[in-house]
Structures are given as C-alpha cells and as structure tokens.
C-alpha cells in the first residue's frame, strides 16, 4: 500500500478459474498488456466450476469483439449455437407461451412507439400477435437464422443475437487467449487469506502447498462461497429471496434429439422453471426450484422425466441464495461472478453481469492508493445493474396468472419493489414504458416481456389516431408480409451453423 513503490509491477490476482475468472483474465490481459502490470490466476483442478449461464444476451458480442475474438472460431471451439431470444412456456398460464426476442417489435411512427398502434389495432378487432411484427421473433419460431445487417433501411437490421455455448469450453478458450497474453496460471487451492493488520486489505493468499501469492488487487471469482470477499473480508449479503424465492437447481446434460433451436427455452414448472439450452452437440437442462415447495428428489424426478434426450451425465444439485454482496468492491478486492451475488439465470444475465463488472473495473481501474470515492462510484454503478436485473426477473414471476400450485400462488401474491409496481401500472394504464437505465435492458426488452406476460395496456397514445384506421391496417399488413418474406428467405439455424461455425468436436 505504498504509493512510492511503483518500480515493481502492479499485481492483479484472480482467485478462481471458472467463466468469471477467465473472462476477467482475458479482458484484463488485453487492457493491461505491459510490464507495469502482472496478472495471475489461481485455480485448482480439484474444484469443479458451476459453468453458469450457458446462455447469453447480445452484449456478449461486444465483449468478444473487444477481446479481438473471431466469432466463428469461438463458436466452433465452444459448440455454440446462435440465440435469438428466450421462449417462456407456461409462465402466464399452463399451455401459453411467448418469446422475448432480441429484436425490435415493430417500429416507431410519427414519434409514437409501435405498441400503441398494436393496441389500437387490437381494440379494433385485429388480434394479430405482436410476433407478426418482429423479425427476430418470427425467425426464432421458424428455426431460422441469418446474421443481421447494418443497413437501417433493411428489416434485417432490426434484430440482434447472442449465443448458447459450453461455458467450460469458453473458459478454456479464454484461458488459452489469456495465457498467450501473459497471464500466469497458478495451480493450487487457496487455504488462507492474509489481511493487513492495519488497513484490512488483502496482503496475500496462501495455497495448499504452502506457497504464497501476494498482490495489489484481488479479484474474487471463487463462486458462491466468496472466498475473499465474504469469508475473509466479511462484506455481507443482501438477501432477495422474498422476491426471487427459488434457491436450488438441478442440472443435467442430454444428447440432442433434434436440430438445435435458435433460442433458450424456459418452461415454468410446479415450483420453479426448467431451462433447455441447445448446443451443437448436446442440450443443457436444469430445473430451478424453491426448496420450500419441492424437495430435491422430486425436483430431480420432474427434471429427469421431462427430458427429451438421453442424459449424458449425473444430475447435480446446486444450492444458491438470490441476492447480492453488500459491496461488490471492498478494499482491494472485487467480486465478479457468483461471488458477487446470484440472480437466477432466467434472462441469461449471469455472464452479462460478469462482463459489465469487468468493463467497469477497467474504467475504474485503481492504483495502489485505492481511492474510496472511485470505489464507491463503481459500487453504485454495479448496484444499479443488479437492481434492474432483479426487477426484470421479478416481473416474470409476479405477473403470472397461475394459481395451480402454492409456489405460483406465492409469486402472484408477493409484494414487489415500488419501482417495478409503478412500471407495471403505468404500462397497463397507458402503454408507456417508464424510463430505464440503458445499460442492460432497454424499452424493447421490457415491452416484450410485459406483452408476453399478457399485460395489455387499456389505452394507447392518442396520437396513434393520426394514422387513420384503414391506413394503419395497410401499414401493419405490409410490415407483417415483409417480415414473413424476409424470414422465409433466411437459411435455417442449422444451415447457418454448418456454413460458418460447425464444431469439429
């Protein structure tokens, strides 16, 4: 902690080599590539990784681009498939489903957002679903995929995509990249964390073999247990389980029995929900549930009996507590990944929160003086990210119409954060989407889920009446047919994979 001691390099120590650890290592090695910095990552072959979030949201492409990753090469290496959105099955009612696409839903006209025209048309008796006006949604439904273009006049510029990939292969891929860029991998288990007697900062960590790794900045990617941020620094945890009551997941991988679909599936179950994530070579499955309403054995049985393909590993139960660490950055330690908190993977936000933490760490990168005001600002910015994801997730549960099981009865009746209640109320009454932080979910994301959850505004913007009835129906029909033509001209998801990024594994 001596500022004048700058002749030695600034040492970054990452503890944990899962997805979060190697993402951090890869990005930092890209931005700290100089003799002024050294980066070590400590991991142990004996500790398994959770491999959270095999599904991602479109921001992952920015992250990969910043790292200079070739997309096709990365997809081949990680058995990746393209992802156009998430399908929610049985969330509103048993038997109903919708997709949250990474795509515009229609387009603004005369400064009035599309949903107002859609509501108007609906009130006039035209019950065309919103999916008719969303190219990403339509393509997903038809198992199609083509890369979007950048031509603002083309409907093919109106959607985005992310990936499903094998998180452990992604970590390996980033590990190669990081090690080439000079990151030193240290094999070993951390058995002790030495805090400075004066400042309480972390001086070094001690490994099982007795060796010591000292550092200036420690990044805790050790997973749920938070080896540094919690066990050593006692940072504390904010519990959100009253809003997000699921606390366990059982996961298993299966053989593919059909062509990979270009979206994640989330199927509501009696006491939670089940994911299906299609990779090129297999399908990831899991049941996220609340242990108050179902025990592990029954949850496992529910999962195993609903699988489409043959299991290729033993089902594994993961326990978690939804919430977040009180401070993501405490003293000279930053928690990234599961150590920072856990919001269930319903909207594939885990990896996104990891990359946001990393990029904000780079903009707020410290020197040995660890300025508290800059740390506070990092924490404030990250708190807002967690908060927004939290509210977005609660929306899915709260607005269910299901009362067929005690779990869903609880969700439907639970009290929710004021900000979210206001947002839902405003939308229902007026069709407007309350302002939101633009860093993670934008208006289109909220709109897709609000409408998907069957929340239909009572009124529409009066200025939607500037376009007269027959003219509006003409415009909407035209939009619908352009989208449907464009989608039918697209190659299938599998064709695109085979052409660009078929895995050789």
């Amino acid at each position: 902690m001596n500022k004048s001691n700058t002749q030695t390099s600034f040492k970054v120590v990452i503890v944990g080599g899962g997805t979060a650890g190697w993402m951090a290592a890869a990005a930092l090695s890209r931005y700290l590539g100089s003799s002024k910095y050294s980066i070590k990552l400590i991991e142990s072959d004996q500790i398994g990784t959770i491999g959270v979030g095999e599904a991602t949201i479109p921001g992952i492409r920015d992250f990969n681009n910043k790292l200079g990753i070739d997309e096709n090469e990365f997809m081949r290496a990680t058995n990746a498939t393209y992802k156009l959105g998430i399908e929610f099955v049985n969330w509103t009612k048993v038997g109903e489903s919708y997709i949250h696409p990474f795509s515009y839903l229609g387009h603004e006209m005369n400064g009035v957002s599309f949903q107002h025209y859609w509501v108007k048309q609906r009130q006039l008796g035209n019950k065309n679903p919103i999916s008719d006006y969303s190219i990403g949604y339509k393509a997903a439904l038809d198992n199609k995929f083509a890369h979007p273009n950048n031509d603002p006049n083309s409907v093919l510029s109106n959607y985005f995509y992310a990936f499903h990939f094998d998180a452990s292969l992604y970590a390996q891929y980033l590990r190669r990249l990081s090690c080439q860029a000079g990151v030193e991998r240290v094999e070993g288990k951390v058995v002790d964390v030495k805090l400075n007697d004066g400042s309480g900062f972390i001086d070094y960590v001690k490994l099982e073999n007795g060796s010591i790794v000292d550092g200036d900045l420690f990044i805790d990617c050790s997973g749920f247990r938070g080896l540094l941020i919690e066990q050593a620094l006692k940072t504390g945890y904010i519990d959100w389980s009253h809003w997000l009551p699921c606390d366990r997941a059982v996961a298993v991988q299966t053989e593919s029995v059909e062509e990979a679909i270009p979206y994640t599936k989330s199927i509501a179950r009696d006491a939670g929900w089940q994911w299906q994530i299609p990779l090129q070579n297999r399908v990831g499955n899991g049941y996220v549930y609340c242990s108050k309403y179902v025990n592990d054995e029954r949850a496992k049985a529910t999962l195993m009996s609903s699988l489409q393909g043959k299991p290729i590993n033993e089902p594994r139960v993961i326990r978690f507590n939804t919430g977040k660490r009180k401070k993501l950055w405490n003293k000279n330690c930053i928690a990234i990944g599961l150590s920072s908190g856990f919001l269930e993977p319903l909207e594939s936000t885990s990896i996104h929160l990891i990359q946001t933490s990393i990029m904000k760490l780079i903009t707020h990168f410290p020197d040995r003086s660890f300025s508290q005001i800059d740390i506070d600002d990092y924490n404030q910015q990250m708190d807002r990210q967690f908060d927004q994801v939290k509210n977005f997730l609660i929306l899915h549960y709260k607005t269910t119409q299901r009362i067929d099981t005690p779990f869903w009865q609880y969700c439907k009746a639970m009290s929710i954060p004021d900000e979210l209640a206001y947002r839902i109320d405003l939308f229902l009454k007026t069709g407007h989407i309350a302002e939101c932080d633009k860093e993670i979910f934008v208006n289109e994301n909220w709109l897709a889920v609000l409408l998907g959850q069957n929340l239909i505004p009572k009124n529409y913007h009066p200025r939607a009446d500037c376009i007269e009835k027959s003219q509006l129906s003409g415009i909407l029909n035209q939009m619908k047919s352009i989208i449907s033509q464009s989608v039918s001209a697209m190659p299938s998801h599998i064709e695109t994979i085979n052409k660009f990024c078929k895995s050789t594994n």
Binding site: G111, D367, D374, D377, Q381, T430, H432, A434, D465
Partner: protein, 495 residues
C-alpha cells in the same frame, strides 16, 4: 381532447402553440392562445443545437428566423475572468478534444498537465476557439472534417422571436384571444372547465397550458401555491436587465458570463444590440447601486432597465389534472447556461410523448417525475460556477463556496477531483462532456489520472495532443469572422 387553450402571449406560449398545432394537426385538435397581462422577461434568449432540429420539424427556415429576430450564432458559454483575471474559457456544445481507446480525452489532458503542458482545454476544441476568436462557420460532417465538432444555437431578441412564432402559429390555425382572465372555474374533480374572462366572455377547453410566467394564473389555482416554500439556496436573489446599443462591437458567437463583486453579468449579443443581465445578491448590494453597475457595463441604453426576483421553489407537480405549466410558470430558471428554451423543448417533447387521453391524466405522474429529476440535475450544474469559485474579492464569493449542494453533486465533484472520472448521468439535457468542460473550466484539478493512461507512450501521447491543437489552430484561422458571416447570411437591423 379537442380543444387546447394556452395562456400567455410570449415566446413560451407561441412556441407551445406552434408545436401543438403542428403535432396535433391530424387529430383535429383546436389550439388557441389567450393573451394575459405581461410580466417582465429577459430581452434576449438563447437556443441550443437541438433547437435547430425542432425548427426544422416546425417548418421554420433558419435564415428567415435569424433575420426576423436579429439573431447571432451561439457556440457556447464564455466565462470571462471567472477564476482569475485574464482567465477565460468556453463551455462549448461538443466534446473538447478527441481520442480513441478506452479513455475520455480529459484523462490524457490531465496527465499532460501534470507533465507540464500549459495549454488549456479550449485549445483542443474548435468550437471553443471559434467562439473565443469571434469567428463562425456551420458544422460540416463530410470527409471527417474537424468542422464536424462545431455545433451552434442562436441568440435572439425575445420579443421578435415571440412575434415570429406568433405569425407562424397563426398560419397553422392557432386563434388568439385577448381577454383579462379573472379566474378559473374547476369541476368537482379539480380540472379546469373554463377561464373566466371579462363581460361573461369565458373560454372553455379540454386542456389548459399555463405560460403566464411567474403569475401562474392557472396552475397556481390548482397547486396551492400559498403553501410553497421558497428556497433561498441561491447565491443571488435579484436581477436587472436592459438592452444596449452594440453596433460597433465584435460579436463573439457565444453568451458571455462575467463575475462581479456581488453577482455576475450575462451579456447576450444580438445584431446591433446586446442584452445585459446583472444577477446579484440583495444582501450585499442595493438596487440603485446595482443599476449603476449595470449601466457602466452597457454603453448606450435602449429602453428602460427592468428588474426581477430570482426565487427557486422546489416544485413536484408541473402537470395537475388538465393543466400543464411551461416556461417560468413551471420554474424560475436562473439566467445561466441552461435556459428556458432548452427546458421548454424537453418539456414539449415529454408532453407529446405522454399526451393524455381525454379525462385520463395518469401520465401526469410520469411527466412530473421526469421533470423533477431534470430540474434537480440542472440545479446541480448551475451550482458549479459558485461552489467551485476561488475568488477572495468579496464576502459574496466567499459565501458562494458554502452553498448547500446535493449528495450527487458532491459525489460528482469528489469523483472528478480524484481521478477525473464521472458518474453515470442522465444526458438528455446536459451531456457528459459538458460536465467535464465545466469541471475543468471552473478550476477542478484532478489529483490523479486513470492509471491505464500510463500504458500510452508519453511522447506518443504528447504528439496526439499537439496534433489536435495544430488541427484546431489551422482550422480556426481559416474561418470567417462571426460578424462577416452574419452580414452575408442573415443581416437584419433595428431601424
């Protein structure tokens, strides 16, 4: 809604009338405007770059507007002698300097200063230098031209501006009534049914917009103004303003702010005239003395000297039932950088986005929430010239340093002092780069810079900075004088 009534025949009222008439023409909404008693208003106002987009959408030709309103161009706010004598800086409408990579330009600039660079930030900004040197040119977005870093608003004669908009609005079908409003009649839900005029001449409407200025003729009836608390957390509480002859002076393309012993002076150049506003603290200066000061800064006075109080009130509701307050009816804005026109534009856009259904005013809450946040942010920004001042020449300036500021402003200042970083702002009214220009302009010296700037080779960094500066100098030298530009483009004169 079929019938919207605006109260107030002034620039705010007519902008609103024209805006609504244009935007609601397909809905067969009748827009009318009722004249009311005038209140004192500044003689000049300034628009911002985004106003040009608005004018375009309203079918207003820039040249025609400028001729009609004796307008000059405005590239930013010019603070003269603010921190020290002979210190002058411009806060332009665009980012100063540019750089690739993960840092903002200020990071390189802060480091270069620590290495002994004595150039000021303005030297890396074409807009700032153009304003300082009395030059002007239109932005040019072709071929990566450095002229793309220019952005301009206008300074115009407020009364002429109002007249100009009035004629435009009338040609869009807006009717004007001249009535003395004696009161409003409300229904049992608290909405306004009609305005009570003289001789039983009442004006009915579905929705009412109060542009009557600080009189708050309509909104005041709905808002229980008598319970409002006036906030005295401003350094100054009064202003005097007057117009002067300006025929022989070089007109810099900016608005100028100059500190004075007990307040500050704002000068807005027009063609042939200039408006001078003196905002001061009555605690330190009486009105007569203030008037003397004002006159000593003007030259040949045209018309009379006017006077106004500057009161801020923390209001939470700007839209109540079927009544919306705009302009000074909504809030009393200090005569600083962010002016009425900018607020009005944002307010009109917001209102159009949240345009209500008949008798359903659910959107008002959303409108009010957003407006409160906007005023809070601007109030923070407008505190910077005072809380950051280092002047020792009067008790007034000393007292400014102790003004109460919000926690978020405190955080932003501390954060910038630390490593030149910034929190995440809502940038719809004040962009991030403007905060940077103001922080640096008002003399915050960051004690550190982003550690990763050291990854750049020092000589390479200095070269980058030098190159920008050279580019700016070369470009600015080739530009015409602001005066000459106006003569060619939009000459007009007071007869």
């Amino acid at each position: 809604m079929k019938n919207i009534v605006i109260v107030g025949s002034n620039a705010t009222g007519w902008t609103t009338a024209l805006f609504l008439a244009k935007n609601l023409q397909d809905l067969n909404v009748k827009v009318s405007l009722v004249d009311c008693q005038k209140v004192e208003e500044c003689k000049a106002s300034s628009s911002v770059p985004s106003s040009n987009v608005l004018y375009q959408s309203l079918g207003i030709d820039l040249k025609e507007l400028m001729i009609a309103t004796h307008a000059t161009f405005n590239l930013g706010a010019h603070y003269n002698d603010w921190n020290d004598l002979n210190d002058a800086f411009v806060v332009p409408y665009r980012q100063q300097g540019f750089t690739k990579g993960i840092f903002d330009f200020q990071q390189l600039f802060i480091k270069s200063q620590q290495l002994g660079n004595i150039s000021n930030l303005n030297e890396y900004s074409l807009a700032a230098m153009t304003a300082k040197l009395g030059k002007f040119a239109f932005p040019n977005f072709e071929n990566n031209s450095i002229l793309s870093t220019l952005a301009f608003g206008l300074n115009f004669d407020n009364e002429k501006y109002s007249d100009f908009l009035e004629s435009k609005a009338k040609s869009c079908g807006v009717k004007k009534y001249t009535v003395n409003i004696n009161g409003v009649s409300q229904n049992n839900k608290g909405s306004i049914e009609k305005l009570l005029g003289n001789n039983d001449f009442d004006i009915h409407g579905d929705f009412f917009i109060d542009c009557s200025g600080e009189q708050r003729l309509l909104i005041g009836q709905l808002a229980n103004d008598e319970f409002e608390e006036v906030i005295t957390n401003n350094a100054y509480d009064k202003m005097l303003f007057a117009t002067f002859d300006n025929k022989n002076e070089i007109k810099n393309a900016c608005v100028e702010f100059m500190p004075h012993s007990f307040g500050y002076i704002r000068t807005t150049p027009l063609q042939g005239r200039k408006e001078v506003v003196y905002a001061y603290s009555s605690q330190f200066l009486n009105d007569d003395e203030a008037k003397k000061e004002l006159l000593s800064h003007g030259g040949k006075l045209i018309g009379a000297v006017s006077k106004k109080n500057i009161n801020s009130v923390n209001r939470e509701r700007f839209w109540i039932n079927n009544c919306l307050a705009l302009g000074e009816s909504a809030a009393n804005i200090e005569p600083l950088e962010i002016g009425n026109i900018q607020f009005l534009q944002n307010a009109l856009d917001r209102f159009m986005k949240l345009y209500p259904n008949k008798n359903d005013f659910t959107n008002a809450e959303q409108y009010n929430r957003l407006t409160v946040a906007e005023y809070a942010l601007v109030s923070d920004y407008h505190k910077l010239p005072f809380v950051l001042n280092k002047r020792s020449d009067s008790e007034f300036w000393k007292s400014c340093r102790t003004l109460l500021i919000s926690n978020s402003l405190q955080h932003a200042i501390e954060l910038f002092k630390s490593y030149g970083r910034q929190p995440v702002y809502d940038e719809s009214l004040i962009e991030k780069h403007r905060w940077v220009s103001a922080f640096i302009g008002f003399g915050i010296k960051s004690s550190n810079y982003h550690p990763l700037v050291d990854m750049l080779d020092e000589s390479e960094m200095s070269n980058q900075l030098l190159q920008i500066k050279t580019q700016v100098t070369q470009a600015v030298n080739s530009l015409p004088n602001h005066d000459a530009f106006i003569q060619r483009f939009c000459l007009s004169s007071y007869n």
